[in-house]
């Protein structure tokens, strides 16, 4: 649907999304409370989802909204809420370090922009749209001559498993297995903690 938007509307939407993304990004930068920041970040993500669609990658756009804005950021917000710190308000938003800190990315950004300027950025007519079917075909091409992305896909599974285990290891209150002989120890430790 969106891909049928005509040539005029494309840039217009892009500028709209870009503006939104930049504004939200700026909002993230200056927001006082993490919750505000999270909302701003979600804004950026949604704007980017729009640009993905514009760029001919509807599947990514959907994922961006569902997984990123939906799932990840919800988790972030949840944790923020759980750990809502009273002390946090006394921490200034910016200090002397911040100025230096903000300056470095500026230089980096200028360099990157200059680099980008140096190379041609022409749309290629042969570019394939990132729709589900070709992507799936590419992703799950098991042939010996294929790109082998399915292997990486499997590895992503490992990655997520690792992430879960790591998160459990770090965040779980007590690591002890709830076996009868260990419960005493666990209790003691709890008291101790």
């Amino acid at each position: 649907m969106l891909h049928s938007l005509d040539a005029f509307l494309g840039p217009a939407y892009f500028y709209l999304f870009a503006l939104a993304a930049l504004l939200c990004g700026g909002g993230l930068f200056i927001s006082r409370h993490p919750i505000n920041a999270a909302v701003n970040l979600i804004g950026v993500m949604l704007a980017l989802a729009g640009i993905y669609v514009l760029m001919g990658s509807p599947f990514l756009g959907v994922l961006q909204v569902l997984v990123y804005a939906g799932a990840i950021m919800m988790l972030v917000v949840f944790v923020i809420m759980v750990l809502n710190q009273a002390t946090d308000h006394q921490v200034p938003r910016f200090d002397g370090y911040s100025a230096i800190g903000a300056l470095i990315p500026v230089v980096l950004g200028l360099s990157l922009l200059r680099t980008l300027q140096h190379s041609p950025h022409t749309q290629d007519a042969g570019a394939v749209r990132g729709e589900v079917k070709p992507m799936a075909a590419q992703l799950f091409d098991l042939s010996a001559n294929g790109p082998g992305y399915y292997l990486l896909f499997e590895l992503i599974g490992v990655l997520l498993l690792v992430a879960v285990v790591a998160a459990v290891l770090l965040a779980k209150r007590s690591l002890d297995t709830e076996t009868p002989e260990n419960s005493d120890v666990a209790h003691k430790e709890d008291h101790h903690g």
């Binding site: 042969g126 082998g148 292997l151 990655l159 285990v165 790591a166 290891l169 770090l170």
Partner: protein, 518 residues
């Protein structure tokens, strides 16, 4: 280079993962003592199986995504060995500390698997995924002592900085992809996008320099090294260096190859790590800034690492800074030969780096496992004062630690010596005599603090007998590793003399890749 069935090529990886899964799966059903009694053996078994597999798996590549060659085989074996040592160290540490969970064993194996991915990868995305697997697992391992302030702080810094530089690395992938149209190593650059390629590689290199802890991206290492349990420190120091440097070297080699061999690289598929590539004058001109960067960063790392380590009073922090210096030495291997250095000024190979890396990995894992044994409960005794005379109290661990530290210091007859020897010899052959001399002098500075460590553990009077918590696995693996650190000097050829003809890669795989190229 032939195409190999992925399940075969990745068998060691799979076995490692299986081991991790088995450990993870068994963990909830075991009592606390049983966890530390049995899970390490599960892990060790898996690692040994993976090691055997690693020796048996034929060289080749899978989809051009993963490659196995002689150097990668050695590096993978080094990773497995370091993991085994760390598992043994972890067993000692965790059972001594009466740690409530068994997940660290599984995570260690997962991290090892991630590093194996990094080693085998010939694709930036695969590399990134491997890197992330390893990093996430290691973050958790660094934060293992959840109640320890230092552990928390180390974890925090390491994680945040790691995440930032992961993003930088990823951006590098993006730019490289934009420049070459793919994520495979060493693809030919699309005309007019050289800047993208180079800046992309700059970001990639920075991302990897962070991982290996080179100045000025090293700030995490002292804190993370100190925050983590010693056994984890050893693991992290060893495998991350292997993964990072393998990737760094592979990318560098492929970059030289792709610029030098023009389009042939794409046609011929991934390069073997022990390949010798042709350095064309054009490539030299283009890549000179990178070469200079490696030299400068390397020398900076050497100077900063060594001088910072000089005054450290904590053994692990000392080793952390020294690891910065080691990263510097290894970076020197990446320097390009100067023009006019005879007929060899247009050739480039990284054998010395691989050898250094293998030796360093084993020594690091071993040294910290031994240190873990010597530094008592919660690794609380890892200051110089705490370690004083512990070699007398526990001669075995003192002795193996001595061997490993000698290897760090580059004292013969250890792999550490031969590694430095080869790297610096390369440097001389490449025409950087002054840099080599300087690095050698810095190595002596480095030897000073290593020596201080040795003298401390042997010369001091132990205040209390070391709480070694020695284990069978710990002793056997450490003994084997100590012997290996000496004996390995006999076979540097496998790594440094793989005079593979430039781009001697399987035609079929190359053709397959070429098909998909624009």
């Amino acid at each position: 280079m032939i195409a190999v069935e992925p399940t075969v090529l990745l068998l060691p990886l799979i076995l490692t993962l299986v081991g991790g899964l088995a450990a993870l799966g068994a963990e909830p059903f075991l009592s606390r003592a049983a966890k530390h009694a049995w899970l390490p053996w599960v892990a060790a078994l898996a690692l040994l199986a993976a090691g055997v597999a690693q020796v048996l798996v034929p060289f080749g590549h899978a989809h051009g995504l993963f490659v196995l060659d002689s150097a990668r085989q050695w590096l993978s074996l080094a990773v497995l060995a370091a993991t085994l040592l760390s598992i043994a160290g972890l067993q000692q540490t965790l059972s001594r500390d009466d740690y409530p969970g068994g997940e660290p064993y599984a995570l260690t194996l997962f991290a090892a698997a991630g590093v194996l991915v990094m080693v085998l990868a010939a694709d930036l995305l695969a590399l990134f995924i491997g890197l992330e697997i390893a990093s996430l697992a290691i973050y958790a391992l660094v934060g293992l002592r959840r109640d320890s302030r230092t552990s928390n702080e180390g974890l925090f810094k390491y994680f945040v900085m790691g995440a930032v530089f992961s993003a930088v690395f990823l951006y590098g992938i993006a730019l490289t992809y934009g420049a070459t149209g793919g994520t495979r190593y060493g693809l030919a650059v699309v005309a007019g996008r050289e800047h993208l390629l180079l800046v992309g590689h700059a970001l990639l290199f920075v991302g990897l320099l962070f991982k290996v802890g080179a100045v000025p991206f090293h700030f995490w290492s002292p804190d993370a090294y100190t925050g983590a349990p010693s056994a984890v420190t050893g693991f992290m120091g060893a495998v991350i260096k292997v993964g990072g440097f393998t990737a760094l070297g592979a990318l560098w080699l492929n970059l030289i190859g792709s610029l030098g061999g023009a389009a042939t690289t794409l046609a011929h598929g991934p390069l073997a790590l022990d390949a010798t590539v042709v350095l064309t004058p054009a490539a030299r001109d283009t890549l000179q800034p990178f070469a200079l960067m490696f030299l400068v960063v390397g020398l900076l790392s050497i100077v900063l690492g060594n001088f910072s380590a000089l005054k450290q009073t904590n053994a692990r922090r000392l080793i952390a800074f020294s690891s910065v210096a080691h990263a510097g030495y290894m970076l020197l291997a990446l320097a390009l030969p100067q023009l006019g250095r005879g007929e060899l000024d247009h050739e480039f190979a990284l054998g010395s780096l691989w050898f250094y890396l293998v030796g360093y990995a084993i020594a690091t894992a071993g040294a910290l496992a031994a240190l873990a044994a010597l530094s008592g409960k919660e690794d609380a005794n890892d200051s110089m004062q705490g370690l004083a005379g512990q070699g007398r109290a526990a001669p075995f661990y003192g002795l193996v630690l001595t061997v490993f530290v000698a290897s760090f210091a580059g004292v013969p007859p250890t792999v550490g010596f031969l590694g430095k020897f080869l790297v610096f010899a390369d440097l001389v052959a490449k025409g950087y005599v002054v840099a080599a001399l300087f690095a050698m002098l810095m190595a002596v500075v480095g030897a000073t603090y290593y020596l201080r460590l040795l003298v401390t553990i042997w010369a001091g009077q132990p205040k209390e007998p070391a709480h070694t918590g020695s284990s069978l696995m710990g002793q056997w693996t450490l003994a084997a590793a100590a012997i290996a650190v000496v004996v390995l000097i006999a076979w540097p050829n496998a790594l440094i003399n793989g005079k593979v003809a430039p781009h001697a890669i399987s035609q079929t795989a190359g053709a397959a890749l070429a098909e998909r190229a624009p």
